[in-house]
């Protein structure tokens, strides 16, 4: 009974906690008034937004998720040096291209994360996803080998995401 009560009134415990922490961080204080207001907001906002929630696959392995985040941060650093070289270098050597990448993962959240990762890393920007969510269209700043690029995206970013979400 306690369980159903909790689920009814605190539908998103993790998000409530994040909201509470963010509120205190934004105000940079631990005053009792702000703690009270933050707690009220952290309890009230999830109650208001719970009807808008769409079901998403759960994160299976938190360790893998952390490792994925670190890997993406490292890739962002490397990617920036690469793009910087291309920007400074001669324009006539640039070989931009549109590529369609077949998707194996399902669900809106994993695809969104994959698309954002692609946008942030080596010379690629995701532009559009097909309606059946089977293809992702990306723009590449400098394409040397299409098959190799697709294979790299699939093995480096898609496979870990597949393990994280287990789909």
């Amino acid at each position: 009974m306690i369980r159903s009560w909790t689920r009814r009134w605190i539908p998103m415990p993790a998000q409530s906690l994040i909201l509470f922490a963010t509120w205190l961080l934004l105000n940079n204080t631990l005053a009792p008034g702000h703690i009270l207001l933050g707690a009220f907001l952290a309890l009230a906002i999830p109650l208001l937004v719970v009807p808008m929630q769409a079901p998403q696959p759960r994160v299976r392995s938190h360790l893998r998720a952390v490792r994925y985040t670190l890997m993406v941060l490292y890739d962002i650093l490397v990617a920036n040096f690469e793009v910087a070289m291309r920007v400074i270098g001669p324009m006539s050597k640039l070989q931009p291209a549109f590529v369609a990448v077949p998707l194996d993962i399902e669900g809106t959240l994993p695809i969104t994360i994959l698309a954002s990762t692609i946008s942030l890393t080596p010379g690629t920007v995701s532009a559009e996803v097909s309606e059946d969510r089977q293809w992702l269209y990306i723009h590449v700043l400098h394409l040397t080998d299409e098959a190799q690029l697709i294979a790299q995206i699939k093995s480096r970013y898609e496979a870990p995401l597949k393990e994280i979400f287990g789909c």
């Binding site: 940079n28 962002i76 793009v83 369609a100 559009e128 723009h139």
Partner: protein, 122 residues
């Protein structure tokens, strides 16, 4: 403040400034819209992250307090940069903004605009 920490802060600030400059330089120099999309999303975000980390170290050392707003701003920019890039690319595709002539795979344009799978011969 010791000279070493000052040096570290300066390095972060300079790195950030250079990347911001590169982002805008790419925006000005690259030949068509789709290639221009690349530098502001990547270089500018990283440049600002460098600036923010530098100022976070400064306030942590100089005033002995943790200012976490920088972290929040960095996170916010990291989350929103790919979203705005994606929306801009989408808007450009639907507005039929022309790509550079030598861009490969331009036959995907129509399919991408209509959100269809790519044509079979590809």
């Amino acid at each position: 403040m010791t000279p070493v920490i000052e040096l570290i802060i300066c390095a972060f600030l300079l790195l950030g400034g250079i990347f911001v400059l590169l982002g805008s330089f790419g925006l000005l120099r690259l030949p068509d819209f789709y290639t221009r999309l690349h530098t502001p999303t990547k270089a500018t975000t990283l440049g600002l992250a460098g600036l923010l980390i530098g100022s976070m170290i400064y306030f942590f050392v100089a005033e002995q307090r943790l200012v976490v707003h920088e972290l929040l701003i960095t996170l916010f920019l990291l989350i929103t940069a790919p979203v705005s890039a994606h929306m801009l690319a989408k808007a450009a595709l639907h507005h039929k903004v022309r790509a550079l002539k030598r861009t490969q795979g331009q036959n995907l344009f129509t399919a991408a605009r209509k959100r269809q799978p790519p044509p079979a011969d590809n």
